[in-house]
Amino acid sequence: MKRALPLIAGILSGLVVLAAMFFVPQSGGILAMVLNWVIIVAGVALLVAIASLVLTHLRFIARGKKGFLLSLVLVISFLATLMFGLIRGVDDPVFLKWVGAVIRPIETALLGLVALIMMSAAMKIFRERGWSALTVSFGVSAVIFLILGLGFLQNLNIPVLTEVIRLVETLPMIGARGLLIGIGIGLLMMAFRVLFGMEGSGND
């Protein structure tokens, strides 16, 4: 029974949303209601996740586990932000300014580290993977588009070269189309698995 209920709920939800798409004028209210449920459930799940995160780190602090100082920082910052937002409101400019002043440099620094890691990976990929079709194609395409990104070749204003550059720049679109087609097929297969009760997540 535990496995049947989630399975039935998933199948019914999928069929309702699918039917609502075909019968648009009549099923508009039902579709909006179902999507609101989805948003509410997602919000509740976010609260549960936040509660689980805080409790886990409180447990680390209580046990004195290695790295509990970081847990202490997380809990303190969470409580401070929660209290500040509850008192001053989420629309308060001062609150938003302080939060933005903390989050923006941290995330920007993380993105800069990602750029450095990508540079290091670009250097090591040939050592680790050797010379293969994948690595060679990756290296050649990366070199080409990095050179194009510099803009030197475009500024030469050579007609033939400009046409070649435009032709080369269409290659990513081809790849993106293939990627999107693959994503669509994957979503379709996932929908069929849910509708026919074959999705593994429903068995848990």
Binding site: G29, A32, I39, V90, M119, I125, L150, A176
Partner: protein
């Protein structure tokens, strides 16, 4: 020292004297293995030895002194001297009186007396020393024979090149000697090697007195055929000297005449030695004639090499100058033969004195040699027994030592290590190029994006779409990005928002991210929009708008919680997002229900390729991605130089990875090739 006599054997062919250990006659070269004896051991005929062998074995078995202790009666009073007495008592040859005395002495403990006991103990000790000396001498003698046999083998190997020479150009005596003699430098090596095997109390060098005494004794004993044990040291020394003796025979008369002028300076044999001339063995002549041949062909340059080979073999206690003199003595006579005038040189004078000495030593054999026909001399030595040859490892070690000495001081190719490409120069060049590129980009290149730079097609389309907007047109701006990408997106969006605001377009802001609330403040500040601009939060992103998009009647009824829920009044939806998935959701879930609504996007360079199909299909009116499309408006929040530096760094790192991989492969191939 020269009083030690050896038992000399007579050659069955020429009836000349030879040392007892000689297996070949030093005069005629005939085989004398039948006369072979060991020093200190009487020569017993083979037949006699075979006949007496059972008797000897029986005697050994009956000898109580050679029996095991277990068989002897437990008598702690008996000492080894008593055992000898017992063996003597058993023999029947003792006289009766002596047997009685010994029998009585055996019965009485103190009959022997302290003096007799001490004497007997000394005799036993002497016997042990003598037996040990005999063994050492025998081993030394065996070594010498083996080395000599090796020399003979080497002579055979050298006979082929000498045969190529024309007989007319080479004297007959030289041809004969070349056919018989080994190279002298090998004999020199032989001498040095056998030197250390001498007993400590034996002479290592022949003095004038010793040679004189030896010859006198040899002549006196020639008729008597008496053999006396001669220490192996004297025999080996004589054997070492004999290779020098044939020089006179081989050097012929001119050498003797030439060396006669210096004879007085280096004469170490009395004048009456002519009467003691002994025929010179033919085999020993090879040792000198080979040096002559080498000196004729290669000059005297080989002399130092010979000395280099010899020097490591010398013992510290041995007289090195004497040995060097001996070595040079054997080489110089060739010069005396070829260029007699060169003897004026003092050094050569010293060297040429040696042939005179050798001549004096061997003069005694000249007369007898003249009497003997030359045809009697064997042209080659007999086959050497295998047990007398040098072991292979000994030959290898000798050849290795010789090669090392030859290569000493030379720069050989083997010492040079295989140079592996270190790649440091390439890396240094890349680093310099990187630095130069950085400096040029930061100093020379333009800081802002050039206005005349080419724009991408989606960016141009977006610019055209913005130009078509009129005053009071409503534009919904959806902020859907994180703080990490805020710099890139705000640099693109702020100028565009400013331009729309200038055009009088009504802007409505909506964010789908909680962080969008405070990020919008920064964007509004950069776009110079009023600070009180409302930014609404839309939970659930585009899912929250699907219901209103599907059923416009619901939107028309009004829901005051969100003023932007009704999308129909908007002419353009501008998506500022760093996620292509969210943009796809807007285009796939919202756009189909509202045909009059246009969509445009501002995204990152990384997400732009995914949006290109939507632009190509017309679902997107246009989009701007990255700093490359930042020339749409007036950007002041980023540096174009820094952007180029970043691209150059990425490019250089990628090329560096390729080069390092290629270098690694090249090194590996080089190592495999080396192996």
């Amino acid at each position: 020292m020269t009083e030690d006599h050896s038992e000399l054997n007579l050659c069955p062919n020429c009836s000349k004297e030879n040392l007892p250990m000689a297996t070949r006659c030093v005069h005629c070269g005939s085989d004398m293995e039948a006369l072979f004896t060991i020093f200190g051991q009487p020569q017993i005929p083979e037949e006699e030895a075979e006949e007496s062998l059972p008797d000897i074995i029986e005697e050994i078995r009956n000898d109580p002194s050679l029996q095991t202790p277990s068989e002897e009666p437990p008598s702690p009073e008996l000492v080894p001297a008593n055992r000898i007495d017992e063996s003597i008592l058993d023999s029947e040859q003792l006289p009766d009186w002596l047997a009685k005395v010994r029998e009585r002495a055996q019965g009485e403990e103190d009959a022997i007396g302290d003096l007799a006991s001490g004497t007997m103990a000394m005799d036993a000790a002497r016997n042990e020393e003598a037996s040990a000396g005999v063994e050492g001498e025998f081993n030394a003698w065996i070594n010498r024979i083996r080395e000599k046999s090796q020399q003979e083998n080497s002579v055979r190997a050298r006979q082929l090149p000498s045969e190529n020479e024309e007989p007319d150009q080479v004297p007959e005596w030289l041809q004969r000697i070349r056919a018989l003699r080994p190279r002298p430098e090998e004999d020199i090596t032989h001498e040095v090697k056998t030197g250390p095997t001498y007993a400590d109390d034996l002479p290592r060098e022949w003095t004038d007195e010793a040679l004189q005494e030896l010859r006198r004794q040899a002549l006196s004993e020639d008729q008597e055929q008496e053999t006396e044990p001669l220490l192996s040291a004297s025999a080996s020394t004589e054997d070492e000297e004999t290779p020098v003796e044939p020089e006179l025979e081989a050097a012929s008369e001119p050498v003797q005449e030439e060396s006669g002028s210096i004879e007085e300076d280096f004469h170490n044999i009395p004048e009456d030695e002519d009467a003691y001339f002994v025929p010179v063995p033919v085999e020993d002549l090879n040792q000198f004639t080979e040096v002559e041949e080498d000196s004729v062909v290669g000059g005297t340059q080989e002399e130092p090499a010979t000395g280099e080979i010899e020097s490591p073999e010398q013992e510290p206690g041995q007289d090195t100058p004497e040995l060097a003199e001996i070595q040079t003595e054997e080489v110089v006579p060739e010069e005396a033969i070829v260029e007699p005038e060169a003897s004026e040189n003092p050094e050569q004078t010293e060297l040429e004195s040696v042939p005179v000495e050798v001549e004096d030593e061997t003069k005694t054999g000249v007369e007898e040699q003249e009497e003997e026909p030359e045809e009697e001399q064997p042209t080659d030595s007999a086959a050497v027994p295998p047990d007398l040859l040098l072991l292979r490892d000994q030959q290898d070690r000798a050849s290795l030592l010789a090669s090392l000495i030859e290569q000493e001081g030379r720069v050989t190719a083997g010492k040079q290590a295989v140079r592996k490409p270190s790649g440091k120069a390439g890396r240094l060049a890349l680093a310099l190029l990187l630095l130069i590129g950085l400096i040029v980009s930061m100093l020379i290149g333009p800081s802002p994006m050039p206005t005349d730079a080419l724009k991408s097609m989606p960016a141009l389309a977006l610019g055209d779409q913005i130009q078509t907007l009129a005053e009071n047109d409503k534009v919904l701006v959806v902020l859907d990005y994180q703080a990490a990408t805020s710099r890139e997106l705000e640099a693109l969006a702020a100028p565009m928002l400013d331009k729309l605001h200038v055009q009088g377009v009504q802007l409505s802001f909506l964010t789908t991210q909680p962080s969008g609330l405070f990020l919008a403040q920064s964007l509004l500040a950069q776009a110079e929009l009023p600070e009180n601009t409302l930014v609404e939060y839309l939970p659930g992103s585009y899912l929250n708008l699907i219901g209103w998009a599907v059923n416009p009647a619901i939107s028309a009824t009004g829901d005051d919680l969100l003023r932007a829920k009704n999308l129909y009044p908007f002419r353009l939806v501008l998506l500022v997002s760093d996620s292509s998935d969210n943009i796809r959701g807007w285009l796939e879930q919202i756009a189909p229900w509202i045909e009059s609504l246009n969509f445009a996007a501002i995204t990152t360079q990384m997400e732009a390729p995914v949006l290109s199909p939507y632009f190509d299909s017309g679902q997107l009116e246009g989009y701007a991605a990255g700093i490359a499309d930042g020339n749409i408006g007036m950007q002041s929040t980023f540096s174009y130089r820094a952007y180029r530096v970043g691209l150059l760094l990425m490019l250089v790192m990628l090329l560096l990875g390729m080069i390092s991989k290629g270098e690694e492969d090249a090194i590996r191939k080089e190592e495999e090739r080396a192996e």
